[in-house]
């Protein structure tokens, strides 16, 4: 009898465990009952925690005011992890958000993998003629629109005006000046000139563009990272670090860069509008006027920074597509963009927003708008998001002296040719 009880208990436990495994699938149950949106919209935001996230959370939850029956579930996923996390969730079909803040280079890749819902003809795209053409470009893949542009950005030199004054130097406009200015800063104030991020190849792009190079030439289907300009650019960044003009790290680059700049240990960083709110939290920038912004230094051939930004994309497997479309529209509307530009100095993707007084008066936005207009647009192919992983490995190897600039870009080029079948 006792045995029988044990066996029954065992069977019951197994059955319980099995049902527990099968029991997920929240977030849904929505739709538009009688024209009114309801249910839950889960949004994965990737903005910087501690500064940007508060504004976005508040804005996202404001959606409920327009649609009282919809609950917005705001989730902040660290930018560095979001791409992989979304891919995992999207592929397995469980745990994926309804709406994701997708970096411009991720968008064509997600679309190519079939993870995103096409938005043409849905309420998500409203007044789409108002979007800046370069912002809208990254949302198109295979003649369909897969995302709505949320913010657009590029990069510039952020500098600490006080340190520059103490050292008696002007903002460098090219690499040569960058080196001499850094040396004077070091000599006169003991601080390091530039913090160069060594663990993320996105920070290498402005040096590559400065030498007239690019990662790939999508028009000619050609890998260009390993040509002469690529070698030169690697040599330039290596020389900046070796000569002491710049300091770098192979890990924790973002935190170290921001901490060093906020605390006034380095005079310059290269960064984009997304870093402004975080920079203002530093002791050196209690007086916001101490932060100066200038164009990235020119190389021997050109001056250019990458065009970046973020889109809002709707997951194709969302159980609440209608509310998700409406949410994407709400977050990218002119009103929402104006709020974000005013509070976080992030650049709107709608032409009309720049004319609003609260945006037109914003100094950071005013500086970056012309930079964005001239920024180098990357090819919006599905592989664009894949180009960084091989490059960052070699970039870090070059900076830490494990390989030469030439071998570094050659190894990168080889991986690109594996990735992009039939390219030269």
């Amino acid at each position: 009898m006792r045995r029988g009880i044990t066996a029954t208990a065992l069977a019951a436990t197994l059955a319980l465990a099995a049902t527990a495994c099968g029991g997920d699938g929240d977030s849904g149950g929505g739709g538009s009952a009688g024209g009114e949106l309801s249910g839950t919209v889960t949004w994965w935001d990737t903005s910087t925690v501690g500064s940007e996230d508060k504004v976005f959370k508040k804005l996202a939850e404001g959606f409920t005011k327009q649609h009282p029956k919809v609950k917005v579930n705001y989730v902040n996923v660290p930018f560095g992890e979001a791409q992989n996390k979304f891919k995992n969730a999207a592929q397995s079909g469980s745990g994926a958000p309804d709406v994701i803040r997708s970096e411009v280079a991720w968008t064509p890749e997600f679309a190519d993998l079939g993870y995103l819902a096409p938005l043409d003809g849905t309420p998500a795209l409203k007044d789409d003629a108002d979007f800046l053409p370069q912002a809208a470009a990254s949302t198109k893949y295979d003649d369909k629109t897969y995302a709505v542009p949320q913010v657009i950005d590029s990069m510039g030199i952020f500098y600490n005006k006080k340190i520059f004054k103490d050292a008696g130097v002007e903002v460098p406009t090219n690499i040569g000046e960058l080196k001499s200015v850094s040396k004077q800063i070091k000599d006169r104030t003991g601080k390091t000139g530039l913090y160069l991020r060594g663990d993320d190849a996105y920070w290498f792009l402005s040096f590559l563009y400065g030498e007239g190079g690019d990662l790939v030439d999508a028009g000619a289907k050609k890998v260009t990272v390993d040509d002469a300009a690529g070698v030169k650019a690697m040599t330039v960044v290596k020389d900046l670090v070796d000569s002491g003009a710049a300091t770098t790290d192979a890990t924790d680059g973002w935190e170290n860069m921001q901490a060093a700049f906020r605390d006034g240990k380095v005079a310059m960083i290269i960064n984009g509008p997304w870093a402004v709110a975080d920079t203002y939290t530093g002791a050196q920038f209690k007086d916001k006027a101490n932060l100066g912004i200038a164009p990235v230094p020119a190389g021997s051939a050109a001056q250019g920074a990458p065009q970046g930004g973020h889109n809002l994309a709707v997951y194709a497997g969302s159980k609440n597509l209608n509310a998700s479309y409406a949410f994407a529209e709400y977050m990218t509307s002119a009103e929402s963009q104006a709020t974000v530009a005013k509070e976080l100095s992030l650049l709107p993707t709608r032409n009309s927003v720049y004319a609003r007084p609260e945006v037109a008066d914003n100094e950071i936005v005013g500086f970056f708008k012309p930079v964005v207009d001239k920024a180098v647009e990357r090819p919006w192919i599905p592989e664009t998001g894949s180009l960084f992983a091989p490059l960052v490995t070699e970039y870090t190897k070059v900076l830490t002296g494990q390989t030469t600039p030439r071998k570094g870009v050659e190894a990168t080029g080889d991986s690109y040719r594996d990735l992009l079948k039939d390219w030269k």
Partner: protein, 378 residues
């Protein structure tokens, strides 16, 4: 088991095998099963072999008679032990699902060209079928002829040997110290076990903060002594040193506790007798302690080698394999193929996984053989 079977006298074993095969082809499937069972327990005493041979003979004489005995035994085993089998069945099923299926699936993927773009995906209404193809052993050929696998393997071996070597030496030293009667012994023991009590990822993150070049505690300490900042995780050579140091720090408590247990099982009379005979401290250590620890130390070295070889969290959380790929070991590289690069290369990742498994199995087999040769019953 195979070792024992191969030790059985040559001609006999050959006849045996042939007999079984003959039966297997025979008409009665029951005989085949019986023979297979006989083979499965090949290491057993003569009686078992006898049954196998009986089945072999029956192939010539008449399948019916020979098959009776093993099938009957099977039935008897089922009737007397059915409850045990029923109790074991869920475990077997669960292990089959959670270990067997992924293993088989991994091996299969390593023989295909599966990546993120061609595996089956089901997203809402979109259903994309799998389009990857079987490519045979191409992935293995690529891995073994390319430089990446071999150079990663080289560093993985250096990492494993230095971690296990240093951990064992330190663990042995500490265990010997704490085996003496010193004041506050139990306090020291508790303190030394602490690294083990803290969750691994927490301590690795703590170390990452300590190692930070500009803001880390270690460099501030050095700066206080007037020493220049050390690029703990930013220089390839220092990074290798740093990851090994953290893994040793994490691994010493286990070694120490295991060896301390071993030390306490060595009878004190042996030391007393040795002292009477005038043996010095080193002689006592060499001839009593070391042999006395043999059983424990062989086991912990094997376990520690396997753990260290596959020590994912330390490398991944400390350096992510960087700078560049300086500290990338086989498992972290396999993870990178599967989760960090895009498109995710599931085939190559599985290939590396299978190769890791094969390497560790080879190591365990060789290690065991060496021990058996040295007369250990293991």
């Amino acid at each position: 088991m195979t070792v024992h079977t191969s030790r059985s006298p040559g001609p006999d074993a050959a006849g045996d095998g042939a007999g079984r095969r003959g039966t297997g082809r025979g008409t009665d499937p029951g005989t085949g099963r019986g023979a297979a069972r006989g083979k499965g327990r090949g290491s057993g005493p003569g009686a078992d072999r006898g049954s196998g041979r009986g089945a072999g003979r029956s192939a010539g004489q008449g399948a019916g008679r020979g098959s009776g005995a093993p099938a009957g035994r099977l039935r008897r085993a089922v009737t007397t032990h059915w409850y045990a089998w029923a109790m074991v069945a869920p475990v077997v099923a669960v292990i089959g699902v959670i270990i067997g299926y992924p293993l088989v699936r991994g091996v299969y993927l390593s023989l295909t060209d599966a990546d993120e773009r061609n595996v089956e995906r089901s997203i809402g209404v979109n259903h994309l079928p799998a389009t990857y193809e079987f490519v045979g052993l191409d992935n293995y050929a690529d891995a073994l002829t390319g430089s990446q696998f071999l150079s990663t393997l080289g560093w993985t071996l250096v990492w494993t040997v230095s971690c296990v070597g240093v951990t064992f030496a330190l663990g042995l030293g500490l265990a010997n110290m704490l085996n003496r009667r010193i004041a506050g012994r139990s306090v020291y023991r508790m303190l030394l076990i602490l690294p083990w009590a803290v969750p691994g990822f927490v301590s690795v993150f703590a170390w990452r903060f300590l190692y930070n070049e500009d803001r880390g505690f270690l460099n501030r300490l050095l700066a206080g002594g007037g020493i220049d900042a050390v690029p703990w995780l930013n220089d390839p050579t220092w990074a290798k040193f740093s990851v090994i140091a953290v893994n040793v720090w994490l691994g010493v408590p286990f070694m120490m506790v295991a060896l301390l247990g071993g030390l306490q099982s060595i009878p004190g009379e042996l030391y007393e007798a040795a002292e009477m005979d005038g043996a010095g401290a080193w002689q006592r250590f060499r001839h009593i302690t070391m042999p006395g620890l043999r059983a424990v130390s062989t086991t912990v070295v094997l376990l520690s080698t396997i753990w260290t070889f596959n020590m994912f969290p330390v490398i991944f959380l400390l350096t992510r394999g960087g700078p560049g790929e300086a500290t990338q070991i086989l498992v972290t590289q396999a993870y990178k193929f599967s989760f960090e690069i895009s498109p995710r290369d599931f085939a190559q990742s599985s290939t590396w996984g299978v190769l890791i498994l094969v390497l560790l199995m080879l190591f365990a087999a060789v290690y065991r053989r060496v021990l058996v040769k040295q007369g250990d019953t293991w």
